[in-house]
């Protein structure tokens, strides 16, 4: 190929310019490839986190703000709770109305008809309870007459036996507003729980009639508590109770009463009465350490 084409092709041999720093580039690439691969060390975990935080400043700060806001909200809710509870039951105020309000306010209503309340009670602590309304319905006049009705104080405030609605069902209602008074919430709760345990135990054991004597101390405790209440509030308390008891039994608990007739029992044919304990607590705070003994 000794023609012009051959000559031109030979001229192309070194016609492409070489970058002046070509050798330096080669050396640099060699050095780069010989550089040991950087493996993340366990001790450098903080550097990784710091890099992450630095590169995601906005997201991290947003999360931190949300966390702070959430914690602040919980703290505020805990501290502000006494101001958001319903005021004490005033004189002449209908218990029914109060109970309706409680229902509307999503109050916690615990309705127990068996021994489960006994299991709950020991673990219940209501340090911040401001108002406790206890409605204890007992089926049968004998229960009231022989156990609690014997107590003068309770007898005075008990539902008239001639309520007229269901003669076989009487209701003994004890409404106990604490009023944030000298009578502590814990003490109130303790007494109520004690009552609940005894009633429930009697029901479960089928020895309700035999346990009537045991209920006497409970009634006395309740009486003592009422007597020891702040005198300045005692009148209002008693007035509220009296006023509340003017309400017909079936209306007293807003239709949640499970009235029973003779012979239809839960567990004990001898008792043949149903005990329903309804505890309305505002605000709800049932979780905590066991009550002080």
């Amino acid at each position: 190929m000794s023609d012009p084409l051959e000559n031109d092709l030979r001229k192309m041999k070194t016609r492409v310019p070489v970058p002046p720093d070509f050798l330096a580039r080669v050396r640099e690439q060699i050095a780069r490839e010989e550089e040991p691969e950087k493996i993340p060390q366990p001790s450098s975990w903080w550097h990784g986190w710091s890099d992450f935080l630095f590169q995601n400043t906005f997201a991290v700060s947003s999360l931190a703000a949300l966390l702070i806001f959430g914690v602040a909200t919980v703290i505020w809710w805990q501290m502000d709770r006494p101001q958001r509870v319903s005021p004490p039951l005033a004189a002449g105020q209908s218990l029914q109305k109060v109970m309706d309000q409680k229902s509307e306010q999503s109050s916690v209503a615990l309705t127990k008809t068996d021994s489960s309340i006994e299991k709950m009670a020991p673990n219940r602590r209501m340090v911040t309870v401001d108002e406790v309304i206890v409605t204890i319905e007992l089926a049968g006049n004998e229960m009231r007459d022989e156990s609690m009705g014997a107590d003068s104080t309770l007898a005075e405030i008990s539902v008239p036996s001639d309520g007229g609605v269901k003669p076989e069902v009487d209701t003994v209602t004890a409404a106990i507003p604490v009023f944030q008074s000298k009578v502590s919430s814990e003490e109130t709760v303790r007494i109520v729980e004690q009552m609940a345990r005894k009633y429930s135990s009697a029901l479960v054991e089928g020895k309700l009639a035999e346990k009537r004597s045991d209920l006497k101390p409970v009634g006395d405790s309740l009486k003592t508590m009422i007597i020891e209440i702040d005198p300045a509030k005692k009148e209002a308390f008693l007035a509220a109770l009296s006023n509340s008891l003017q309400i017909a039994p079936q209306n007293l608990v807003g239709g949640t009463v499970s009235s029973t007739s003779g012979g239809e029992t839960l567990q004990d044919t001898n008792a043949s009465r149903k005990v329903q304990i309804q505890i309305l607590i505002t605000p709800p705070n049932l979780i905590g350490a066991p009550p002080k003994k």
Partner: protein, 212 residues
Amino acid sequence: MDGTNSSGPVSDPTEPMIDSELVRAFQKEAREEAFDELVRRYQSLVINMAYQMLQNHDEAVEAAQDVFVKVYHALPQFEERSSFKTWLYTITRRVVLNRIRHLASRKASAHVSLQHEDYGEALAARPELTSTVQPDHELMSAERFGQLTGAIGKLDPDHREILILREIQELSYDEIAVITGLNVGTVKSRISRAREELKTILKRLGIGAKYE
């Protein structure tokens, strides 16, 4: 390029070391400057061969860098069964072919086209391909260089490679056989067919009369 016409000696300016001496200096004495001298000696050949095959200056320079990096790492094991230059061309061919495959897989051949029909468009889109290439002397203009480069780019890849090695790099048939792994007879026949194909392409481009 026989390895003795170096542009700069390593130890004695008056007695330039041949390729084998530089290789042994690097292998046994770990003299880095020996490798540098080999780079300076062959960088133009490697870049030009890569350019003719890749037809892109930047790609050619990068490929040449890769070639010398591989030479650096492989040189301690080089046993001189062939000349250093032949060995270097073998590495260059392998690196360039790998780069061609890589570019093809990336479909980035818009301006690094290895397809005959794409080269004209690539040349138009990349005027620097011709502007960065300097003509040897007044007998070969940039225009002529571009025309020939374009024609070579339209060759069948096998023909293009072997024509570059023979007509541009001026390697012997034996050297080409070693580099390509073909026997000498196949090399000769391919070169013959490559020449005919190139002339046909030049005629089609309207510049064939200059080489009649």
